[in-house]
Amino acid sequence: MEGEVGTNVVGEALEVSFVLNGRATTVRARTHHTLVDVLRDQEHLYGVREGCGVGMCGACTVLVDGEPQSGCLILAVSAEGREITTVEGLEDASGELSDIQDAFVRHTAFQCSYCTSGFLLATKRLLEEIPDASPHEVKTYLAGNLCRCGSYMKILAAVTDLLERRRTVALAPTKEDA
């Protein structure tokens, strides 16, 4: 199978293509490189951070095809064809912060901010998945993201605020209605 797409010989790097924050991207990775390795070292996306390295802390959270996963546990070579979103992909083209980032800023839902990009991405999916999440569901969903500064109550406030605002927007009369 030498030379076929998706195979390599011992020790060699492999070309891996995926969509990164909406843009087609190709990186070169050896088998043991993680997604965190290539996103930081080759794509210079430093919002993806390694904390524990075993999938427990959530600092390396990325969205893979829209679902949060631990970037430190994804072999970069297995990302072929996937759609990857990092925190750098949350703001819009003009650099305007997303409502999620804005809510975290307004509530100062961080201290050192090392964990923040992971929380933002997990929150993005949470809001889509459970638009009427109760405080308990928010806590359960985000339980896998750790904040060692202890900003949990402010994070909970930011997410609760977001849930309310998104519901209000969803319920607001449109121009056509008026």
Binding site: M1, V5, G6, T7, N8, V9, V10, G11, E12, L14, R30, T31, H32, H33, T34, G53, V54, G55, M56, G58, T61, V64, E67, P68, Q69, S70, C72, L73, I74, L75, V77, S78, E80, A122, R125, E128, E129, I130, P131, D132, H136, E137, T140, Y141, A143, G144, N145, L146
Partner: protein, 306 residues
């Protein structure tokens, strides 16, 4: 360390042929949540990784003849949220939902957790307690084995090096069965269990039948001892009966020592948590004596609206 080769077969047949050609020097990888850690910590040095993540036909969940077949590539999160699993085996959905966190559950697969045989994982004990079979394929054909004879020792299974798990096949408990899984963590809420206890029983005619216990995370392999469980059959699961079962599991389990608890402590916790699990089964049965299908529905099951 030389990075291993990375191979992407396009079918299960091709995957097992590759496995055979490496004669045990290759590892199967899909969700990669456990494999990545082992590789990076230098615990394994395979010559090749056979990536099966995208293989077709291994991600289905379907019910047939009172059995639920779950494809090996279903993620933990898919089992947790599956309407089909929740309808017929809510305890299975609940158990997969207690593993690690949302991120890991979005990647880790059913085949992976069964094959890895990590003593501290939640699903193996519950699958064992439910009487699941493991279905594999290899160049020699398809095979079915009960999970009861599948786990050999610490991280070791009966899998041959050219065998690939394609599904697990779980009998759906008869109507009136109550099942619980108690995950006891000794350090932090996000930790893996110190001891995990599965318990189930069928309740009719005022008595419990077909009592089944399985203990996970406490010893090298999950434990299920039908001879002990029989003490609960045709009983009212009164305190003395529960105590006898709990005592027998505590005594007979060859507990291990790790950072989540000493061998002695684990025996104590088996005694406590087998008792609590059976008490919950009994209370659930008395509280609602005729559930429509099977298994008591655990509180606060997570949901997905879209």
């Amino acid at each position: 360390m030389l990075a291993p080769r990375f191979l992407r077969p396009e079918s299960s047949d091709e995957a097992v042929e590759l496995l055979r050609s490496f004669e045990g020097a290759a590892k199967v990888v899909a969700g990669s949540t456990a494999m990545t850690i082992m590789l990076r910590q230098g615990l394994i040095e395979p010559d090749a990784l056979i990536y099966v993540g995208g293989l077709p036909g291994l991600r289905e969940i379907h019910e047939e003849d009172s059995r639920l077949r779950v494809g090996a590539l279903c993620t933990h999160r898919e089992v947790e949220l599956s309407a089909e699993v929740r309808a017929v085996l809510p305890i299975l959905a609940y158990t997969f939902g207690t593993v690690a966190n949302v991120r890991v559950r979005n990647a880790a697969t059913v085949g992976g957790v069964v094959a890895e045989a990590d003593y501290a994982s939640d699903p193996p004990a519950v699958l064992l307690g439910l009487g699941a079979d493991v279905i594999t394929t290899s160049p020699s054909g398809e095979r079915r084995r009960p999970l009861l004879s599948f786990y050999r020792s610490f991280y070791e299974t009966e899998l041959d090096f050219d065998e690939l798990i394609v599904a697990i096949d779980v009998p759906i408990p008869p109507s009136g069965t109550y099942a619980v899984y108690e995950k006891y963590v000794s350090r932090a809420s996000e930790d893996r269990p110190c001891v995990g206890v599965f318990a189930s029983a069928q309740f009719y005619g005022g008595l419990f039948h077909n009592v089944r216990i399985a203990i996970g995370a406490a010893s090298e392999t999950p434990q299920h001892v039908p001879a002990i469980d029989r003490a609960g059959d045709e009983s009212d699961l009164r305190a003395s009966v529960i105590g006898e079962i709990a005592e027998a599991y505590a005594e007979q389990t060859d507990t291990l020592d790790d950072m989540r608890g000493s061998s002695w402590y684990r025996k104590e916790m088996i005694r406590v948590w087998v008792r609590r699990a059976l008490e919950r089964v009994r209370e659930d049965a008395y509280a609602s004596p005729s559930p429509s299908r099977s298994s008591s529905i655990p509180d606060e099951m997570p949901r997905r609206d879209q």
